[in-house]
């Protein structure tokens, strides 16, 4: 019953129809919302008394690093669905997330490095969070190169799903172990987790920016999953009659 429902509702064809319809308004709304949140954060909030104005990078850095991890979780969720129910749509979505995840993770690392220059005095520190984010980036890149190295799409899909699951199990382990490791050498001068009790004036735009950035990235995911579906279902009759 459930399987049949899934197959009807979540066929690439009907997903593609819905996605084409909602994609542009979806993207537009969240781009505007994000620009609004950024403008609010960058121009309408007071200066942080420790870090000065450079703290404003938080409105770009925190959403990016949050979304980079959420994207991996979504990818893992899609892979589970693919492995259990053999739902093709889910692996299309999972595969189309990988390059976006890599880009977002790269941006998170980049903005963190830039932020580090004025606040820590160095652009890189071997602390737990940064190291595990770097590993996350490497995993995204590995996944992309994994899928592109197979000629047979079905094999590639299955390998992709398996490696995503291995990766998602791996992430908490790495996080935990890297946390553990870094405590021995040195404690990071400023950890991002316990920021000095954020002012509500800054908190509201921060939450808004996280939410709208997530929406924006999901819009791009819809876009790229449409591409993936077109690419993979080229020979189907419904694609030809578009």
């Amino acid at each position: 019953m459930l399987k049949k429902f899934f197959h009807q509702f979540a066929s690439p064809k009907s997903y593609f129809r819905i996605a084409t319809k909602i994609q542009n308004p979806f993207l537009l709304i969240f781009v505007l919302l994000y620009v609004f949140a950024l403008a609010w954060g960058l121009l309408f909030t007071p200066e942080d008394y420790i870090q000065g104005n450079s703290y404003r990078i938080i409105f770009m850095h925190v959403p990016a690093s949050f979304v980079s991890q959420i994207l991996f979780l979504i990818m893992a969720f899609c892979s589970v669905i693919f492995l259990v129910w053999r739902l093709k749509l889910s692996i299309y979505v999972a595969k189309s997330i990988a390059p976006i995840g890599a880009a977002v993770t790269f941006f998170a690392l980049f903005s963190g490095s830039i932020w580090g220059i004025p606040t820590w005095g160095t652009w890189w520190q071997w602390d737990a969070r940064i190291t595990s984010t770097l590993i996350l980036l490497i995993m995204y890149l590995g996944l992309i190169s994994l899928h592109s190295s197979f000629n047979n799409y079905e094999k590639a899909d299955r390998f992709f799903a398996i490696i995503v699951l291995a990766g998602v199990i791996n992430i908490p382990i790495i996080k935990k172990s890297v946390d553990w490791w870094s405590t021995l050498h040195q404690s990071a001068s400023i950890t991002l987790t316990d920021a000095p009790s954020i002012d509500p004036l800054m908190l509201a735009p921060l939450f808004l920016s996280i939410f709208s950035f997530f929406g924006l990235i999901m819009g791009i995911v819809i876009l790229s999953s449409r591409y993936e579906i077109l690419l993979r279902e080229q020979s189907k009759s419904w694609v030809k009659s578009l």
């Binding site: 993207l27 960058l42 309408f44 830039i114 004025p118 591409y227």
Partner: protein, 59 residues
């Protein structure tokens, strides 16, 4: 909500930290723009290709 800065100059420099903030903003928007454009262009090209191929097959 209160506008924090007093002049355009101040928006630019942000007390010496402006360069970091604006670099990040520029990189962010180029990344997003590249992602969106990349996929949108790819979709357009693929749709065109599929259409021409099916026309050739039909004829």
């Amino acid at each position: 909500m209160k506008f924090y800065f007093e002049s355009i100059n101040e928006i630019f420099f942000m007390g010496g930290h402006g360069i970091y903030v604006w670099i990040v903003v520029i990189v962010l928007f180029t990344t997003l723009l590249l992602l969106i454009l990349n996929f949108a262009l790819r979709i357009n090209r693929l749709v065109k290709e599929i259409k021409t191929f099916s026309q050739i097959k039909d004829n």
